[in-house]
């Protein structure tokens, strides 16, 4: 068996498992875990937005919570004030987040590395404080809640988020669509430009790539992913709050992305999955699970900077006895792209 076919088989099993969650979980454990699975799917999109920037264009954003928050409020406010439905609220949330990213990104992507990380966090803080003080609109840190609209109303058939399974499958559908789109983009000629910029921005410019524009496009797309995550989370919790715009949320997303493995399409899903499950398990016995998360983060950066995806690739390589460095077969989802080397560019500084 080749690495590619093993990966493909694993992907099929994984997809089947995701589809089976609402039927299988109640047989094994509390239905509460269906909601946890849904939550993992949602948060993984926020981590995916970090991954798009760090793993594909080589920019570490510490401010993705801003676009999450805009997506969240976009969905909540459009439902509350304009009577938008689920799909309308989702679309407005995503568009709002992309618009915000388009504004902030035009300035932010002029900077790289530390400076980019700082300015993204600064922008998110500005909007965080603004959202806190705009209490009549945003509810500040208390937040605002709303009744979830129907996902689908067709004659007598009404699908409501109040039904746990409907909610799960709706979220799965949206998240899967986001990953599919993400996968298309990173394998496209545009994705080729992304990776060129990640690998070596100077050489990228010298083969004719507009580095600024390329980073900008990635930033806006990443804003869209974070926005989708935020909008879904708003519908999931029927709630939006400024607290989700704080930089700790951004930081957690970075941790998920890195634990999962940057530069791999589904890495963030596994990173978010592992850490959220860990949170749920540990927090039942010890409330200080963040201590474990912190330690795990440091250990991953130290000993496995390629994350779970890297471990998976090494496993595949060992199974098929081919050195990973020269395995360049077309890769299935979840294992694409070379290991990211974010520090490669950093060393070129003056």
């Amino acid at each position: 068996m080749t690495a590619a076919s093993i990966s493909r088989a694993a992907f099929v099993v994984f997809a089947a498992a995701l589809l089976a969650v609402p039927t299988v979980i109640p047989m094994l454990a509390s239905p509460f875990w269906i909601d946890i699975a849904a939550e993992i799917l949602i948060w993984s999109l926020l981590a995916a937005s970090v991954n798009l920037l760090l793993g594909y264009v080589g920019l570490l954003s510490f401010g993705q919570a801003l676009y999450f928050g805009v997506g969240m409020y976009g969905a909540a406010l459009s439902v509350i004030h304009w009577g938008a439905g689920f799909w309308g609220g989702l679309a407005l949330g995503i568009l709002g987040a992309m618009l915000m990213a388009a504004i902030a990104g035009s300035v932010a992507v002029r900077l790289t590395w530390h400076y980019f990380a700082i300015i993204t966090v600064v922008f998110s803080l500005i909007l965080y404080f603004a959202a806190l003080s705009a209490k009549p609109l945003t509810g500040g840190d208390d937040g605002i809640s709303f009744g979830a609209p129907d996902v689908l109303a067709f004659g007598d058939v009404r699908l409501s988020l109040a039904n746990q399974a409907v909610q799960y499958y709706t979220i799965l559908l949206v998240v899967a669509a986001c990953y599919a789109l993400f996968g298309l983009v990173v394998r496209s000629p545009l994705g080729v430009r992304f990776m060129a910029v990640r690998e070596n921005d100077r050489r990228a410019a010298l083969v004719g790539i507009n580095v600024y524009l390329t980073r900008y496009l990635a930033f806006v797309l990443a804003g869209g992913l974070a926005g989708a995550s935020g909008a879904l989370f708003a519908f999931f919790g029927r709630y939006a709050s400024a607290t989700y715009m704080f930089y700790h949320v951004s930081g957690e997303a970075v941790v998920w992305a890195i634990v999962g493995g940057t530069g791999a399409l589904l890495g963030p899903l596994f990173g978010a999955g592992l850490l959220i499950i860990l949170r749920e398990v540990i927090s039942t016995v010890w409330e200080h699970y963040l201590f474990v998360v912190g330690a795990l983060t440091i250990l991953v950066v130290m000993f496995a900077p390629r994350g779970l995806a890297g471990a998976w690739r090494d496993l595949l390589a060992a199974m098929t006895r081919r050195p990973p460095a020269v395995a360049a077969a077309p890769s299935p989802p979840g294992t694409d792209a070379a290991p990211s080397t974010p520090s490669a560019n950093a060393t070129q500084g003056d």
Binding site: L60, L111, W113, A117, V122, V255, F291, V301, M302, Q348
Partner: protein, 286 residues
């Protein structure tokens, strides 16, 4: 009204000097090791907690105040060796490791010291009249002591051999290596020093703030603002910016919503980041 504004300005000055001390620690770490230490705010928090705990166990705030920076230096040395040095090659990811460290410090303190915010009795009782308001004597002492520490730090940097070495490594690590400066050890010492300064800031501030595991989160953005608005690599600028920002925030708070002041400072910080050519396409020119 004017009295209130002036009192708030003085308050700002007190905080500004303390924050300057902490921000300087952040700045030397950033300038020398080229890492963004997200846990720096939590070092401040550690300082407040340690001074409170030590004061209770030894019975003397002054003894605790003397011990905390020493503990801070040791903590910094250990963390540099265990966490920073092994990951320094991935310079961009140190922001992630220090974020992990930040979580560990906060949760570690919450698990051991507790989540309850506490207040500490000021070691110097009494007030003096200032602009018609009874002002805490300790606050005046805190400002003076922080200022003294700042002066001592600059004297250390310019007058001692170690300080000269730190400046040399900061300026040009390659040349410094060539000249026989033990760069690796200087980096470790610098991290220890920066950490000690944050803890010292915490120890000074503990009697005028609440002591709990979360205070670092509030202080961190402020330190970054001071470092960046003051000009990266400009230590005097950091001090000036810290004091100015704190005084301004104090004054603005007296007339309007404090978050407006925060937003304005952050906006200023963005501008400072963008106009500074250092950040722009660094690496395009060799």
């Amino acid at each position: 009204m004017t009295a209130l504004v002036l009192a708030l300005a003085v308050n700002g000055l007190v905080w500004g000097l303390i924050i300057a001390l902490i921000a300087l620690g952040l700045s030397i770490i950033f300038g020398l090791l080229d890492i963004i230490n997200v846990a720096h705010g939590d070092f401040f928090m550690l300082g407040t907690v340690f001074v409170l705990v030590l004061t209770m166990s030894t019975g003397s705030y002054w003894l605790a105040l003397a011990l905390v920076p020493i503990i801070g230096f040791a903590v910094g040395l250990v963390l540099e060796r265990v966490i920073i040095r092994p990951t320094i090659r991935q310079a961009s990811l140190t922001i992630v490791t220090t974020f992990g460290l930040s979580m560990m410090l906060q949760e570690g303190v919450r698990a051991t010291y507790g989540a309850q915010p506490r207040r500490m009795a000021p070691p110097i009782e009494g007030t003096i009249p200032l602009f018609g308001i009874d002002y805490d004597v300790y606050r005046i002492f805190a400002a003076a002591f922080a200022a003294l520490c700042l002066i001592a730090f600059f004297a250390f940097l310019t007058r001692t051999k170690l300080g000269t070495w730190i400046r040399a490594v900061r300026h040009d690590p390659e040349t410094a290596t060539a000249l026989g400066v033990p760069v690796v050890r200087i980096c470790a010492i610098t991290f220890g020093l920066g950490t000690a300064m944050a803890l010292l800031g915490g120890a000074i501030a503990a009697p005028i703030t609440t002591v709990e595991f979360r205070t670092g989160v509030d202080i961190l953005p402020f330190c970054f603002m001071a470092v960046i608005i003051g000009g990266l690599g400009n230590l005097q600028g950091t001090v000036a910016a810290a004091v100015l920002l704190a005084v301004l925030e104090g004054v603005v708070t007296s007339v309007t919503d404090p978050t407006i002041a925060r937003i304005a400072s952050l906006g200023l910080m963005s501008v400072a980041l963008l106009v500074r050519p250092h950040g722009l396409f660094s690496g395009a020119t060799r």
